[in-house]
Assembly symmetry: C2
Homo-oligomer: 142 residues x 2
């Protein structure tokens, strides 16, 4: 997209940071299902009111900004395997994409006031910015 990419006036607000034992990208499993560890979300205390209603046991969709991803890539090999054909990034869950929004279904294990959440499983690297949390819907769209 270089040359025609559209930067906007919309800025991402970081509402917190992932604290994880995964310290390097190469340590991270591809998906939360694959033995991803527990992690802490250290959220901005100014956001604490927004967490009202989230409890231990809640299942939530955690949205991160995969800050180490290459935003200029539009095609990737499936599963990162050069033997696989190239696919458009929008047909994959690759972190590489124009807006590297990560989506992770996690269970809240513990809530510590004012604004820390213990969650699992989470496959992203320590230091990844958190941008949103939404409840899981047990219906068609989730």
């Amino acid at each position: 997209m270089t040359g025609s990419e559209q930067e906007t006036g919309y800025q991402v607000r970081i509402i917190g940071t992932v604290r994880s034992p995964l310290k390097r990208l190469e340590d991270c499993p591809r998906q939360g299902e694959e033995d991803a560890p527990e992690a802490w979300l250290e959220l901005d205390p100014a956001c604490a009111d927004g967490l009202d209603g989230i409890r231990a046991g809640s299942e939530v969709l955690l949205f991160t900004w995969l800050h180490l991803a290459d935003r200029g890539v539009l095609q990737v090999h499936l599963h990162g395997d050069p033997q696989q054909p190239l696919s458009g990034v929008f047909a994959t869950r690759s972190p590489a994409r124009p807006n590297p929004v990560g989506m992770h279904r996690v269970t809240v294990l513990k809530v510590v006031k004012p604004a820390r959440l213990h969650v699992a499983p989470l496959e992203v690297v320590d230091g990844t910015p958190v941008i949103d949390i939404k409840p899981v819907r047990h219906s068609r769209e989730r």
Copy 2:
């Protein structure tokens, strides 16, 4: 969050625009399930390579930037009903939240080269920016 909100160097890139018969916010149903119409995604032709692998019949998660939402709100009444108690925005699907990322599960009805997708159902207003598309996973996380 006013005063302590953290703006970052991360800018959202608009990869396209929703074209919908829903011309006013008050016309929009709350969720895609509630009789939301078909819509067109007019994507940046520079992103066309990223769509490779998306076909008519594909179910995808469409991510939008709900540009009309109030980013300063941390608590809302459930279902927008003042009779309901206040809840933290992260425990709701309200568009109001620090980063107004909309997530919509839609079916691709038609793909028109280089970069237009006809989809349904979609409950957002005409002109809403598109920021990402991911495949639906038929497993735990989606």
